[in-house]
Symmetry: C2
Subunit: 719 residues, 2 copies
């Protein structure tokens, strides 16, 4: 029998080698590597008992049917009796009340809505491995965690594990248009096939739900924040309803983006004024209809008065008046209104950096309870590195959620391996010094510092129709990492990288070290070859692909020159009290430290200071030279990532190897392109000699400026 | 050992059940069902010897490495010695000259460039199973055929098989735009990721080449006939070059669409006049550059002076002058110029049906040798049923290729199962009576009747980024069927359906009967519920999704009214001598028979005749009643397809079952929609009572007219 199994497992391995197209994500169940663990799993899978019956348990059953044969070579056995052959118990605290000890029950109750307890339960002398939640979805989360521990070799049959998420709304934001294009999407097109909905259910929808549930994501907004009102018509509600029905067993709520002018566009009204009775009635009726279709509809996500999107300002109303009107329509149903803080009027501000605080701080305390303001991690726009957004800590009575961008708009799109977790970790751990001296962004967002009850972490999806979902295999690591951070924003990037790598490439320790090194170095590498030392927003026009430090024309705060402010004397955006004063929006501790060019961390230097090309850096080198060395270091790091990857040839699946290998080759070229284009451009301004330590570019500045990318993906469609 | 194998095979089966997403197409190798055949295959795979070394043999080796473990549970063994352990011999006639008998050599030589010979060869007392071609690609075709015979249970170790294709250019036409939208594409978006080319090779490109080679397709035009001149720039040539390099080992040549105005758009010229020396020089230089990148570049495909595309008419030049100029640029390199006959000037003709003949018959004999005119199967535009195009048989000294549409623009797009092979078979077997009394369309296209040396069958691709390539699983059958017909246009639809069904669903005879029945009934069903009795072009505006017999406005020959001509007296387009006289473009035998409404096959009746609603049909019923019954029969057939499919539940893979099942549910609804909308509309014109035998529609005509489909796919992008 054992021989059969080994042969069978070998075959499975060889077969799976043909199918490593990435579709399975981190749920690509494989034979369990550790033999003791495999026999434990074998036994556990042989008797599974559910204490209840509901669609979530059915989803768990399906997951186990999928996982067990791949992990152990045998189908799982579901028991209809609680005792006898049973090995695993699955159910809610209430369902298990009679078999759980009092302390266990208290422990579990404290884990809240989504938490789970996992461990051995002794009952009538026999031990059952038990996964319990307060709701079925907690059990689901527990099962996924258990499977993950088997795949990554960390399962301990005798250990008790308790987990509960720190954030309430763990949310993906799709920027998917109804025509299936995806704004800033680099993995093909939208997975939502609106045309064939509601009649045809793409199996992908279910796998999407599984993947999200397995990392704790429990909310998704299906549509672009640059919204199309049509999504709120009855026809589309019926389509969205089907998706909501599919996601429900996986604990995922559907949100939709609401276009503020929808009352005009689909309601036949002449105004969208949030105080107009007809407008109020429109939204109430529309929202009631929504809840008839989707009883657990999550709510609306709104981008208003930003980049040309309509909003309350057209009617001389505030963001609070706009948001509260929609929130009032949602409130009777328990819905949440998410309002983006990424606002700036179409007139050019002195410094776009300041606008969110200028708009929202005065409104502090004016938003309804079921409103949450979704704030990007930084004040500009998902740049390779930004200091944390000054709105964190600046309001006291406003729910704030954080918005990260998983799709790599400014970080190499789908041709570069950039593991974003270290960047998010840097933001989450940033000290805000408000409301308390030890406050961090994470502490504000999860409510522990801010005291807010409604909590949200949103990530702009990097998911598309590509077979591997994310275009670049390592894009999956960013999706995974985002999910894990929504569950626990205090996790380290290293831990997350380790988890994902084991699930994706197996447990070989040498491979693990190399892959983790590549991942953990990748963000700093990208910052170096794109925007070192606090530079930002110097990418290509419109498509944002590649460097464009020369970009000018059109709206000033969409140009590169606006942000780097390079002139013959120096470079950088003075946001201190001598400049735009944006720095003053932070806590006094930060203002003090960062207004001093000697004290501010050099990674933020040019974000806040305009300095002479000859300014002396901590290294003793001039700023001009230091910029050059950072760009060059970025290229070197990219090359090192590539050479490290090459040592994995033969040690990992060849399809995975070749996929990443080709993309790393492109990444090195793009890193060189960034370095050469930026240094040649800044040299044309600084008039300083090209640093001799650095390889001389092959082309000249005019060559780099002449490049055009008509097929660059992810462009916003023309409405 | 046997037990291992059985267990292993069982496991493979169970694993594969999770992966039936359709990506593998008809190359989804599975354990060989017949045990004798499996042990034969087992032995053959154990010693494979190639008589030479080249990229095509490497492709064969990879294919066998993929197939053998899945078919037999064991990896294939490649021998480095011709004798000893060897079981299979693979090579060209020249390579095998010393081991083949004289008669074999003559036989093989006669199979031409792409043919292959397969069978036992006895050498020094031992028998080798041998696959030989005149070129390596012939060996590849033979190997695919051999694998197919193992999968479908028809392999005979002792039989000699000789095959050679009847058509030279067996070609897919992609209507893929550079922004990855696909005109009339219903399977997602373009698989050509121009942005990431040339650096990143999607494994899909290779699988695409494998699939095509396995059915004999040897030419692909990558880009939309509504062309973008940018594809001819150096940047894009480098991208196309990579695809050509990938396809070359699989015997596939790359063609590109040439926009006639490219000299203006990318050449900086003021004219595209085909007789202008600068224009001639532009195309020569451009073409030379193309061949530097792609030495075996196939040539250009051109849509000119049609639906707004630029062409020679702008300069008062003929199609021949336009085509010959491009052909002259290609000739030195052995390239082919394909010129579409789907032309009609933007001014409205009396009857669009006539225009191709009006334009091309006078040019007969004026085209260069390396020009081929690509003629749609019918004179209008890929309608559910069209009589064959009158150009077939009307010219004597012009190479004619036929163009079919695999993508189901007018045949249910990606929500309907419509097996197109019977429709193509009907066209190919149509008697043209010219040039000889027994001539058929197939005989003209393959040169046997026409004597033309350059032969072409083109199909507009239904391939996209959907995981299963074609959106609807049965769309794969149309791709497959098209390929098989390019190889042999005399194959029967039944044979093709049987082959594909076995490769896709296995050999279970009961399943086979049912699935074949569904497939073979599906086209007639669609004709009935869409456009029975010769009706045509009454679909929805622009997106062509669903019925639109009321469509009017804009260009007359883009409306439905232009084609059905229904009025209070009758319905149908009079194309006889009393009408547009389009019928006169056919051979006298056809004119005689079809000009008589009693003699013409009723399936073409309203295509050529305008008849009273009360006209008596062969059934004795009135035309009005017969129209109604045909529509209703279509709905009944669709329902029968669905109920037959439902009996397969549990008998086939559940993922495949559910996928098709959902789509058949939609198909029934769409069939009812077509029937109801068309009958209500025609009733509003005929003023006859709604036939009492037919279910009364739920909605009224206004309801059907009010339906809008903003997310219907495949729309031509706005340039």
């Amino acid at each position: 029998m054992k021989k059969y199994l080994i042969l069978a497992l070998l075959l499975i391995f060889s077969l799976q080698n043909f199918a490593k197209d990435g579709y399975e994500l981190w749920l690509d169940y494989r034979p369990i590597e550790n033999s003791i663990m495999r026999s434990e799993a074998d036994q556990l899978f042989s008797g599974i008992f559910f204490f209840g019956k509901n669609p979530t348990y059915e989803a768990i059953e399906k997951e186990l049917q999928l996982a067990a044969p791949k992990m152990t070579g045998k189908a799982p056995v579901f028991s209809s009796e609680r005792l006898n052959q049973t090995q695993i118990w699955l159910g809610t605290r209430e369902e298990l009340a009679q078999v759980l000890g009092l302390q266990n029950q208290i422990d579990i109750r404290n884990l809240g809505q989504d938490g789970y307890w996992m461990g051995p339960v002794v009952f009538q002398g026999k031990t059952y491995f038990t996964i319990v939640g307060n709701r079925p979805v907690g059990v689901l989360y527990g099962v996924f965690d258990w499977l993950k521990s088997l795949q990554s070799g960390s399962f301990d049959l005798n250990k008790v594990k308790m987990e509960s998420p720190k954030i309430q709304l763990r949310m993906l934001n799709h920027w998917d248009n109804l025509d299936r294009t995806v704004e800033r999407g680099y993995a093909g097109f939208s997975i939502w096939d609106w045309h064939r909905l509601p009649g045809y259910i793409d199996p992908r929808y279910i796998d999407y739900a599984r993947a999200n549930a397995s990392i704790g994501i429990n909310a998704v907004s299906l549509t672009n924040v640059n919204a199309n009102a049509r999504i709120l018509t009855s026809d589309f509600m019926k389509k969205a309803m089907v998706l909501a029905d599919i996601f429900r067993p996986y604990g995922i709520k559907v949100f939709l983006t609401a276009r503020f002018s929808a009352p005009i566009e689909i309601g036949g009204l002449k105004t969208a004024d949030p105080l107009d009775p007809e407008v109020i009635a429109f939204w109430k009726k529309k929202t009631d209809e929504m809840y008839q279709h989707i009883p657990d509809f999550g709510g609306y996500l709104v981008k208003a008065n930003s980049e040309g999107q309509p909003g309350p300002h057209e009617y001389q109303r505030t963001h609070a008046e706009g948001a509260n009107m929609l929130a009032a329509a949602l409130a009777p149903h328990g819905g949440v209104l998410i309002w983006r803080a990424f606002v700036y009027s179409h007139e050019i501000d002195e410094d776009r950096h300041k606008q969110a605080n200028l708009e929202f701080v005065p409104l502090d305390g004016k938003f309804r309870e079921n409103v949450i303001i979704q704030v990007k991690n930084g004040a500009i726009d998902f740049q390779p590195r930004e200091p944390f957004h000054p709105l964190f800590g600046a309001v006291k009575q406003t729910n704030l959620g954080v918005e990260f961008q998983i799709t790599q708009e400014y970080l190499g799109q789908a041709t570069q391996l950039v593991f974003l977790s270290p960047m998010w970790e840097e933001v989450l751990r940033s000290k805000t010094f408000r409301p308390t001296p030890t406050s961090t962004v994470a502490g504000i967002v999860d409510g522990s510092d801010s005291g807010q009850r409604l909590t949200l972490m949103a990530g702009v999806s990097n998911i598309g129709t590509d077979r591997n979902w994310t275009g670049h295999l390592f894009g999956q690591a960013n999706w995974y990492s985002f999910g894990r951070l929504t569950w626990d924003p205090y996790l380290s990037s290293e831990q997350i990288a380790e988890e994902w790598t084991k699930l994706t490439f197996g447990q070989n320790p040498e491979n693990l070290v190399k892959i983790k090194e590549i991942m953990l170095d990748s963000h700093e590498a990208a910052v170096n070859y794109m925007t070192p030392l606090g530079l930002h927003h110097i990418m290509g026009w419109d498509h944002h692909y590649g460097p464009g430090p020369w970009v000018t024309g059109g709206r000033a705060d969409w140009t590169a020159l606006y942000y780097h402010r390079a002139d013959s004397l120096g470079i950088g955006f003075d946001r201190t009290f001598t400049g735009s004063k944006a720095l003053e929006q932070y806590a006094p501790e930060i203002i003090r430290a960062w207004s001093d060019s000697e004290q501010i961390p050099e990674k933020y230097l040019l974000w806040f200071h305009h300095l002479s090309w000859d300014y002396t850096m901590k290294s003793g080198k001039t700023l001009w030279k230091e910029i050059g060395l950072h760009y060059d270091q970025g290229v070197k790091s990219a090359r090192k990532m590539k050479s490290t990857w090459e040592t994995l040839n033969g040690a990992i699946d060849p399809v995975q190897y070749s996929h990443v290998s080709q993309l790393l080759e492109i990444q090195v070229q793009e890193a060189e392109w960034w370095r050469n284009a930026c240094l040649l451009y800044f040299q044309s301004i600084s008039k300083r000699p090209f640093p001799s330590e650095i390889e001389q570019p092959e082309g000249d500045l005019e060559y780099y400026k002449s490049l055009r990318f008509p097929t660059a993906p992810g462009i916003r469609p023309k409405w």
